[in-house]
């Protein structure tokens, strides 16, 4: 039996018909589109095509022997065309090779300017092209959404008011609250708290121990202050508490004492005990007209230094005298040197 070329042109437009000697006798319309200027008819199939796989097939006889396996073929000429194919015998000595682009369908369509008409009506090539294009568009939209979400996340983190390790407020939140209280000429107190011997914990027991201690300390500060007070972590082992509406300096003394006492209780971590303490410098502002965020923090710092110099583990209330004693002491001995001498 033979095959009618007109039928094959419709069913599989990208095919070739060969005679028993392997000479191309008919070229499917889409096959011809791959090499518009090349006369394929009359050429030997093994001349026009290089069999890439199965490997080692150099002759028509070898190809016949391989049977109806999937062939990886390379068509002679340019541009390079790698095709998939299958060869069948028509029973009368002639052969048919049907070809396909396989996964390189996108390149094939572009390189040879193919249209719907170049594929069989039942071929899924067009659906495949549709899907690739639709999925790429959807993927691009998703990618843009992800990018925007990432940007929003970065922006949110930048605007965050929370210290991620302890859950306390951060310096940004502290600065804004201070600014607000000062603008309102409110009465409030600021405690600047610095942990003592924290570096030793970090150095000997590691960062995990240090982080654990910071979390314990944060909880203590929250427990020992009112809900209306603000506790912020402003540096590695530095904290600041803002206490609005404090009626009495004794209240500040008591809160500071309790915080120090509780922080001094050793914190178990794995098999070790972390022993630290805290020094506090406190400023009590009663509706000042001249204080700024900078002067308030400076005053708290001075008081904190005084606590460190007096032997740590204590709270010092800021008074203007501290400023003059600090500057006179400063002129003779640098504060840092005095601090280490005493510890």
């Amino acid at each position: 039996m033979g095959f009618n070329p007109d039928v094959l042109d419709v069913l599989c437009p990208m095919h070739l018909m060969l005679d028993a000697q392997g000479i191309i006798t008919h070229v499917g319309p889409t096959t011809q589109k791959l090499r518009p200027d090349m006369v394929l008819q009359g050429l030997s199939f093994m001349e026009a095509f290089n069999v890439m796989r199965p490997r080692g097939i150099k002759t028509l006889a070898a190809l016949r022997q391989a049977g109806q396996v999937k062939l990886h073929l390379e068509l002679a000429g340019t541009p390079p065309a790698r095709l998939k194919g299958v060869l069948v015998h028509d029973g009368g000595g002639a052969m048919i090779v049907n070809l396909s682009f396989g996964i390189s369908i996108l390149d094939g369509v572009r390189d040879y300017a193919l249209t719907n008409a170049d594929f069989a009506a039942t071929d899924l090539a067009i659906e495949m092209l549709y899907l690739v294009e639709a999925k790429s568009a959807a993927m691009e939209a998703s990618r843009m959404l992800n990018q925007r979400l990432q940007g929003a996340k970065d922006a949110a983190e930048e605007q965050a008011y929370t210290d991620t390790l302890t859950g306390l407020r951060n310096r940004r939140a502290l600065d804004e609250t201070l600014e607000r209280l000062l603008n309102a000429r409110a009465a409030f107190a600021v405690m600047h708290i610095d942990l003592d011997y924290f570096k030793a914990v970090n150095d000997t027991l590691g960062h995990a121990a240090g982080d654990h201690v910071l979390q314990v300390v944060a909880r203590i500060m929250l427990e020992e202050t009112r809900a209306s007070d603000m506790v912020a972590r402003v540096g590695g082992d530095e904290f600041t508490v803002i206490l609005p509406k404090v009626g009495d300096i004794d209240v500040l003394e008591r809160v500071g004492r309790r915080i120090i006492d509780r922080i001094e209780a050793p914190v178990p971590f794995n098999d070790a005990l972390c022993k630290i303490s805290a020094s506090i410098g406190t400023v009590w502002i009663q509706s000042s007209r001249t204080a700024t965020r900078e002067t308030v923090m400076e005053d708290a710092d001075l008081a904190l230094y005084a606590s460190k110099n007096e032997g740590r583990a204590r709270q010092t209330m800021y008074t203007p005298e501290l400023r003059s004693s600090a500057s006179s002491a400063n002129s003779t001995t640098p504060p840092k040197a005095r601090g280490t001498a005493k510890s």
Partner: protein, 195 residues
């Protein structure tokens, strides 16, 4: 309803009338933040709020507005991808009309949670079609008419279109195809990429 549909309304306003007009629409429809994300889903209720707000701000009838949205979807350079995906449906306008039955399935194939209203093509005599459109949204038939008008030009076909109100929840677009090869139309290169 899928964010792609809402985003299309937003893009239509932004591309045709500018961002300020869109912000007016968004404010009127209570959309905050005033942007739709194409790849998220939104409440169905929102659709009439958005379309009403669009009509109020632009002072245009729903049908007229929706036809314009449909035309925008397949003709504006920013929506070239939609036009291309529709052109995959067929070689000529008639082929394309027959592919519309598959449109909801095609949409779902591309974006699995995308639901578009069912449409059904009937052929009466040679060149005479009616497209029955389910209209969960008032004006969907008009939108399809806008799409078909532009696609007929795109394929270079000459067709007469008419909208007929069907029973509740469905519109019928009557299509009379006068000539398939009336003009050159726009080229469609299978291998090109929509930007």
């Amino acid at each position: 309803m899928h964010g792609l549909i809402y985003r299309s309304f937003q893009n239509y306003i932004t591309d045709s009338y500018g961002r300020d007009t869109w912000l007016q629409v968004a404010a009127r429809a209570n959309i905050s933040p005033p942007d739709f994300e194409a790849m998220l889903s939104y409440d169905d209720e929102l659709a009439s709020a958005v379309l009403n707000a669009m009509g109020d701000v632009l002072r245009r009838e729903r049908g007229d507005l929706m036809e314009d949205v449909g035309a925008y979807l397949v003709s504006h350079p920013n929506t070239e991808a939609v036009r291309r995906l529709l052109r995959f449906g067929g070689m000529n306008f008639e082929d394309f009309l027959h592919s519309l039955d598959d449109l909801p399935d095609r949409a779902r194939m591309a974006v699995s949670d995308m639901a578009i209203p069912a449409i059904e093509l009937h052929e009466h005599a040679a060149g005479c079609f009616s497209l029955i459109c389910e209209t969960p949204l008032e004006g969907f038939g008009h939108l399809m008419m806008g799409v078909l008008r532009v696609m007929a030009d795109d394929y270079g076909a000459l067709a007469l279109l008419d909208l007929e109100r069907g029973s509740v929840g469905r519109d019928i677009v009557r299509i009379q195809l006068i000539e398939t090869d009336y003009s050159h139309g726009r080229t469609f290169d299978l291998g090109a990429r929509a930007s």
